[in-house]
Amino acid sequence: MLEDAQIVQLYWDRDTSAISETDSKYGRYCSKIAINILQSTGDAEECVNDTYYKVWDTIPPQRPASFPPFLGKIVRNLALDRYRYHHAQKRNGRMDVLLSELENCLPAADIAESALEAGIVTDVINEFLGGLNKQKRVIFVRRYWYSQSIREIAKAFDMSEGQVKSVLFRLRNGLRAALEKEGVHV
């Protein structure tokens, strides 16, 4: 299996084997992110294929320092777009639950819009995550970035589901406090 830098170089060389190499090494990683958001294998598969084309269009000029998060961000964005598109027609229970959890972190609409545009929200999230210990940070990112289920997280950490929920509840409160601290009032 090729190193990430070699795969990126294939994109730069406009070598189409870059896509098959990416799929071979990160296909499962991308699929998991997409499935966790879309809850549909078919949709996730299309989303992952779209991701490869997006990467093909993006590299060059970009040369990502770290390839997996680069891929993950693209597949996550595409999956979220697809989720939004489908959401009007059908409900996605698991994603609805996850998003409803985030509702109590939401700042007030008018202030939040400008904060979102200025990228302040992402900065606050980064700062908030930076202040957590590793375990809490990983739990938060696995839940709200990788969209893992509570059960999966509990199993990974050998914790009860209730303990994970408890940790996430406190983390969400912490994030809201962090947003407020930065002037984004709820």
Partner: protein, 230 residues
């Protein structure tokens, strides 16, 4: 900004956090697994210390016996060698006499293994190990007792207000999910905001009753999860 926007804003968090949490590559040491490892190490250490103590005891008893034997030689050797004293005083020691004198203490160490097996035999070592294990188990039990005591030291509110009704603590604490509970929620959150019907209590459920109704409330402290049963 809606919840989806917040979810989308999270996409751009630092790469290091994404990599760190990658379910496929992150190897974490969960708390309980780590605790189990520590307990395993502690048990292994206790075993080693036990074996070392046994070995030390054996050496000590051997040394004591050797010392005793030497003392015995010093006391008894003169009598044994007495017949040869004249020869010795003549500056001549008969080989046979010397052997006779040195053979006696030499016999004792030969007997030692015959006497010592009681403590050195595999059965004895096994017994000691079992004792060590029992001790370890007792220590673990004491540890869990201490854990329970720690649990009891958790600040549990005397009274809680739920749905406009005041409930008082009965002082009882359940360490398993209460049977037949009908609902659950977060005491600290607005009613209906958080519901975890299958939430297990990690710190025990404090039991509350009210004079106004027959409901029983179970509060998991300090998580704040609440459930009730009629």
């Amino acid at each position: 900004m809606n919840r989806e926007d917040l979810f989308a804003a999270m996409t751009e968090i630092k790469d290091e956090y994404i990599e760190e949490a990658d379910p496929g590559r992150t190897v974490l040491t969960p708390q309980r697994r780590r605790l189990r490892t520590y307990l395993g190490l502690a048990a292994a250490l206790a075993l080693v210390v036990g074996l070392v103590a046994i070995a030390g005891k054996l050496n000590l008893s051997q040394t004591k016996e050797a010392a005793f034997d030497e003392a015995g030689i010093e006391e008894e050797a003169p009598a044994a060698v007495e017949p040869g004293l004249a020869a010795q005083s003549d500056g001549y020691i008969d080989d046979g006499q010397e052997n006779e004198a040195t053979e006696w203490p030499a016999e004792e160490p030969a007997e030692e293994p015959a006497e010592e097996p009681a403590s050195d035999s595999p059965e004895a070592v096994e017994e000691s190990v079992v004792e060590g294990e029992l001790k370890e188990t007792q220590e673990s039990e004491n540890g869990s007792e201490k854990g329970k005591q720690d649990q009891d030291e958790i600040q549990r509110p005397e009274k809680i207000l739920w749905n406009g009704t005041e409930y008082s603590s009965t002082g009882e604490v359940l360490y398993e999910s209460p049977a037949g509970f009908a609902d659950a929620g977060m005491l600290s959150a607005e009613a209906g905001a958080e519901f975890y019907a299958d939430d297990p209590a990690s710190s025990g459920y404090s039991v509350y009753t009210s004079e106004d109704n027959a409901d029983k409330l179970y509060l998991a402290v300090p998580e704040g999860f609440l459930c009730y049963a009629k």
